[in-house]
Symmetry: C3
Subunit: 337 residues, 3 copies
C-alpha cells in the first residue's frame, strides 16, 4: 500500500519473523524477508503484509497473489495463493493492526519527521492568528482560514478556499474554491471496529480525504478518511450541516446532500444525485447517477440511475406513496365499520 | 434590502449598465441608474436589483413593482411589472449572485470597515483569554465566554449569557440569558444551492440569526442565518444537542426540540410546540401553536395547532398508531394460517 | 447528594427558613435546620432538599424518608413520608432549581476554588500549546491532547488517551486508552427542561460523565453529563461520529453505535449491543445484552437480550421485514386489478 508520506511515516521495515513474534503468529518459511508495509488483501504486493478474515475460504480475487504474507485463521491457511506466506492467528485483522503499529505511524502534531519543513502559506492567503497550521501543510492563494481552525500536518489546501472557525482538517487534499464551514471535521479516523483479544478495537485507518474543486462542507459535518483507500467528494458537490460521510465513500460531482445525510462506509454515489434531509445509506450501497432520494429515507440497496426513491426501507417513490395511501385507506375504512 | 451593516459592507453602488456587463445580461433602458443593493423579488425597492426564477410567468405578488431591476429569463421578461427593468439572462439567480458580489461584502475576520472599533465588552463579563471577539462585537453584563469560543465581527450578545467552549457565533443578535453550548454554530451560511454555469453553486446568504431572551442552544447544534430575511428563535425556546435549524426558519416561544431535530428552510413553528428526538420538517411547512410531534417523525405538510402527529410521512398520532397496530395484526393473522 | 467536588462547589449551607424565603415556599416547622445540598427525591438524605413533581400522590418509593425537606405541590404535602418537611410551592422542580443555586455552584473557567491547584500533566503526556487545561485537571502518561482542545476544571484523563482537535471535555472522568475525536463534546449540561414562572427553564445538571477504558467517541459526538447520577460508557464501547448520548444513560461494554445514534435520557444499554446508523432510543428504555438494532430504527420500548429489532416503531426484525414485504405485495396486487 502506498500510504501518503505527507500523513504517515514508514517506520519499518521489520522481518517476517519479527512480525510473527509480535503477533504470536504461527509461521513457516523465510523469516528474514523484510516487510515494509501493510495493505488490503486484494491489493497487497511484495514486502507487504495483508489479512484475510472472510467466513469462507478465500477465492483468488480475495487475496492478491503478490502479497508477501497474509494473516489468516488456521483453517484457511492452505487456501492462500501459492507464494503468499500464511501467518496463522485467531484474529487476522487484529494481528494486522498490531503489525501496522510497527510499520506505519500516523503523523500527528508531535511526530514531525526530519523532512517536515514549516507550512507553506501563500502570501495572499489570510490565516487568522489563532489558527494552527501543521508542519508540511500548504495553503493556497487567497484562501481564508478562520479563528481556531486546525489544519493538520501535510494537508494541502488549494486556492480561494474558506476554512471556517473551529474547523479541523487532517489527512486531506483540498482543491480550489472549497468551503469548509465552522466546526466541520475532515479526515478523522473512520468507524472501523474489529474484535480484539480484550474487546472491540478500532481498526487503523490509513487513507485520505480528497475534496475536489468547488466542494462545500456544512458546519459540524464529518468526512472520515479512507481505511486503505480514499474518501472522495467530486467537484461542485455540496454538503449541508451535520452530515456524516464515512470511510471509503466515493461521491460524484454536483451531488447535493441536505442535513443529517448519513453515508456509510464504501458507498458510491453518482453524479448529480440529490438527497433530502436525514437520508441514511447503508454500507457498500451504490446510488446511480441523477437519482433523487426523499427526506427521511433509509436506503439498504442499490438505487438505479435517474430513479426517485423514498421510505424506510427505501423503494421507488411511487411505490412508497401508494403504500402510504393504501394503508391510510384501510384504517379509514375500518373506522367507518 | 437592508442588510445589517454590522455584518455586511455595501461596496457599491454600480450602474445598471455595469451590472449588465458583469452578468452578461441583455438589457435595454437607462444604464446610468445606480444600483446599491440586492433584494428578494417580492420586496425589492428603488436602486435594488432582484431576480425571478419561477417556472411560470411571475404574478404581481412575485415581483415587487418598486424594484429597480430584475434578472429574469427571456420568456418572462415581458411579465415583469412596468417600471422594473428586465435583465435577461439564462440563470437569473446565478446572475443575481454575481451582481451581489459587486454590491455587498460579508464582513469576515479580515475585512474590517473603517468604522469598526474594538469589541465592546462589559467590565462584568468574563471572557476566556483564548476566546476571539470580532471588531464591533458587544458582550453584555455578566456574560461568560468560554475557551476558544469565536464571536464574529458585529455580533451583539446580551446580559447573563453563556457561550460554551469552541462555539462560534456570527451574523447574530443574541438576547439576554441565552445559553449557547460548546461547539454550537450560530449564523453560518445556509444551504442554498443554485445551478451555475459550471455546476452547483452556493447562493449567498445575507440575513441574520436572532436568538431572543432565555433561548438555549445545545452542543454542536447549528442555526443558519437567513437568506434575505432572518432566522429567529423566540423567548425560552430550548434546543437540544446536534439540531439543525436552516435559513429563514421562524420558531416561536417555549418551543422544545430534542436531539437531531432537522428544521428545513423557511419553516414556521408556533409557540409551545414540542418535538421528540430526530424529527425532520420539510421546507416551508407550518407547525401550529402547541403541536406535539413524536420522535422520529418526518413532517411533509402543515400540522394544525394543538395536534399530536407522528410517523413518516407524519400524520395525526392516533391514525399512525392505528396503522401500526393494524399492519401488525395482518401479519400475525397470516402467521396463523 | 454527593456532587463531585472536582466539578461543583458547595456554597451553603443555608437554613430551611432561608430556602423557603428564596423560593416563596409555604413551610411549617424548624426553620433553623441547615441544608447543605440538593438531591433526587428517591435518594435524598439528612440536610438535603429534594422535590416531588409526579401527577399522583407520592408512594414510599418515590420520596426518601431520610430527606430533610421536599418541595411539593399543596395537594401532595400530606403524602410525604413523616419526618420530611414539606416546602409547598406551585412548581416544585423549579423551586428546587432556585434552591440549588444557593447551595451548589458549577465550577467553570473562572470560579476556581481555593484548593484548585494547577493542572497535573504527566511529563510523558503531549499537550498541544493551544490546548486549554483547567485547574485541578489531570492528564495521564503518554496521553495526547490536540490543538484547541479544552479540558475543563477537575477533569481526570487517564493514560494513553487521545483527545482530538477542538474537542471539549468537562465534568468527566476518563479512563485509560480512551479516544475522543475532534469536536466531540463530553460533559455538557443535558436537555432537562422544566416549566418556570416565565416559561421553559433549563433544569440544572449535577452529575458527571464516566468513560471507561478503551472507549472511543467519534468526531462531533455529544455525551451529556448526568442530572443527579452519572452518564456511563463501559469498557471498549465504540461510538461513531455525530452521536448523541443524553444524561443518565448507562451503556455497557463492547457496545457499538454507528453515526447519528440518539440515546435519550436514562436509557440502559447492555453489553455487546450493536446499533446501526441513526437509531433513536426513547427515554428510560432498556436494551438487553447483545441485542442488535437495524439502521434507522426508532425504539420506543424494551428490547430483550439477544434479539434483533428494526423499524419505526421498532419491533422484532422478522416481524418488521414481513410487514414490509406484505405491504409491498398488497400494492402490487392492486396494481394488477
Amino acid at each position: 500500500m502506498a500510504v501518503d508520506s505527507r500523513f504517515y511515516d514508514h517506520i519499518g521495515p521489520i522481518s517476517l519473523a519479527e512480525i510473527a513474534s509480535l503477533t504470536g503468529a504461527k509461521f513457516e518459511g523465510d523469516g528474514d524477508v523484510l516487510i515494509q508495509d501493510v495493505a488490503a488483501s486484494h491489493s497487497a504486493g511484495p514486502s507487504e503484509v495483508s489479512y484475510y478474515e472472510g467466513s469462507k475460504a478465500p477465492t483468488p480475487s480475495d487475496v492478491s497473489p503478490n502479497a508477501q504474507a497474509c494473516f489468516v485463521v488456521e483453517k484457511f491457511a492452505d487456501a492462500l495463493p501459492p507464494g503468499v506466506a500464511p501467518l496463522i492467528v485467531p484474529l487476522p485483522r487484529y494481528a494486522h493492526y498490531v503489525a501496522a503499529h510497527s510499520l506505519i505511524r500516523y503523523r500527528n502534531w508531535f511526530d514531525t519527521g526530519p523532512d517536515d519543513g514549516a507550512a507553506s502559506i501563500h502570501e495572499s492567503a489570510r490565516v487568522h492568528s489563532t489558527a494552527v497550521i501543521g508542519a508540511g501543510a500548504a495553503i493556497g492563494d487567497r484562501t481564508v482560514v478562520g479563528p481556531h481552525a486546525v489544519i493538520g500536518p501535510g494537508v494541502q489546501v488549494g486556492r480561494d478556499c474558506q476554512i471556517g472557525a473551529n474547523a479541523s482538517v487532517q489527512s486531506a487534499l483540498v482543491g480550489n474554491s472549497v468551503k469548509i464551514y465552522s466546526g466541520a471535521r475532515i479526515g478523522e479516523s473512520g468507524f472501523g471496529v474489529m474484535p480484539g483479544p480484550d474487546g472491540a478495537t478500532d481498526a487503523p485507518q490509513f487513507g485520505r480525504v480528497i475534496l475536489q474543486d468547488f466542494v462545500t462542507v456544512g458546519a459540524n459535518s464529518c468526512i472520515d478518511r479512507g481505511a486503505f483507500d480514499d474518501t472522495i467528494l467530486g467537484e461542485h458537490t455540496k454538503i449541508d450541516n451535520l452530515c456524516q460521510i464515512a470511510h471509503n465513500v466515493v461521491v460524484g460531482r454536483n451531488v447535493l446532500m441536505a442535513s443529517f445525510a448519513g453515508i456509510s462506509g464504501t458507498v458510491t454515489i453518482g453524479d448529480g444525485v440529490m438527497l433530502g434531509g436525514r437520508v441514511g445509506i447503508a454500507d457498500h450501497v451504490v446510488v446511480g447517477e441523477g437519482a433523487q432520494i426523499a427526506a427521511s429515507a433509509g436506503v439498504f440497496r442499490e438505487i438505479p440511475a435517474g430513479e426517485t426513491w423514498g421510505g424506510i426501507p427505501a423503494k421507488p417513490l411511487r411505490q412508497w406513496m401508494k403504500e402510504v395511501a393504501w394503508l391510510n385507506r384501510q384504517i379509514e375504512v375500518s373506522k367507518k365499520k
